[in-house]
Subunit: 214 residues, 2 copies
DNA sequence: GGTCTGACAGACCGGTCTGTCTGGTTGCTC
DNA sequence: GAGCAACCAGACAGACCGGTCTGTCAGACC
């Protein structure tokens, strides 16, 4: 789980990249530990000492790269956007469906598989938003990443030729978030229920002239 | 639950005694403070010292009535179930609609008003579940209270003569929870979007012989 | 009057939190 | 070899955490 692009901001000073043995190594280990711990246990429940121990890094090294814990959480959210939103959900859904409509509905197939993993950890953006509050900088950042998810949905809706794609994406997102909470409660079939409602939503946003052909 | 309305400004406790009703007074003040603080800021963000100060109670008194902070949180969840679930949502929705179907849909009218309050605090059961985790006793308790909400929905669905009421209630609950998260993000129209999808859900759960009469 | 209960006030405990700082080590560059 | 940058290890500071405990006081009951 190396970081392809997100983050890397703090360490890239004016060194001409002559050495990479321990250059980004510490940052990567910190981010790996952060991803593992934050996504599973939340923000406040994970202390800096745990992150230090898990990543095998000195405390000074930690604070050199991330001046505060919140800075690390911001980097974690960016990483989560790449690993979870993009790589795990959207890309997978796009691969599973042939048409944009199928790709949209495939999101809930991906959810179905995801819900059944015993290490299912829910949506970090929702978690952080509710844990920190919408006024907190981390809550605001989470709202931004949730909006990015809606952007992906809207993009797919436009590819599918649906109408009123922004409202479509907002309604769709309600189904995604609601099913995630239900799955957290233990309802592994929540993805199927949401998918059924999602198909009705697609019907309502199809153009009037467009036939119902597959 | 001992607090019927949970009003009672917290500052009116410095009276020079003189009354015998100090019996449950301390408990009520603690619960009032807990409701105010827990519902707005979460569990871990509220310390015992804050609860002590807000309720104007001695620490020993606090721990006499609630042997641990978690015990108080459990009492808070029970209080939230009464004040929020029953009194604020279900009863209000029942009063707003004439038929059971109207009462069901009125839930999202109540949500619409609730979402617009500037002190909108989302759903404490979801908050606690996500904050503490589903394995934690408080998370499990929250799951139980969420199931109670589904029970109210299923009850209304049965009164409306709908079919497969348990699955109906689970799908309906997805819409409720998803719209709450969206409202937390700032989408005050989330209640309308959910209500639209909810009406489709009702249609799909009506008996086949039943006409579409209003 | 004596006793008991429950409330208040607040010191205090061990532990954890975020964040700072010192000291020693490694490895690259000049 | 000197300098330097980044690393590891860990003590330390100051705040806060949940929870315990001592002590004082007011009212109820015998």
């Amino acid at each position: 789980m190396s970081t392809p692009d997100a983050s890397e901001a703090p360490g890239s000073s004016s060194l001409p990249a002559g050495q990479t043995t321990t250059r980004d190594d510490a940052v990567d280990r910190i981010l790996d530990a952060a991803y593992e711990l934050f996504s599973r246990r939340g923000i406040r429940a994970v202390g800096v000492d745990q992150l230090i121990e898990r990543s095998g890094v000195a405390k000074a090294t930690f604070y050199r790269h991330f001046p505060s814990k919140d800075d690390l959480v911001l980097a974690f959210l960016a990483l989560r956007d790449q690993i979870w939103t993009v790589d795990l959900i959207i890309s997978d859904a796009r691969n599973r469906g042939n048409t944009p409509e199928e790709q949209l509905l495939a999101i809930f197939d991906v959810f179905g598989d995801w819900f059944q993993r015993e290490d299912f950890e829910a949506c970090s953006f929702i978690n952080v938003l509710l844990e920190m509050g919408r006024e907190h900088p981390l809550g605001k950042a989470s709202i931004g990443y949730l909006a990015r998810i809606r952007g992906h949905i809207q993009e797919l809706a436009e590819e599918a030729g649906l109408e009123r794609t922004e409202e479509f994406a907002r309604s769709w997102h309600i189904l995604m978030k609601g099913s995630i909470i239900s799955a957290t409660e233990g309802d592994v079939l929540a993805s199927k229920r949401a998918q059924q409602m999602a198909s009705w939503l697609i019907e309502q946003h199809r153009g009037p002239e467009r036939p119902v052909t597959a």
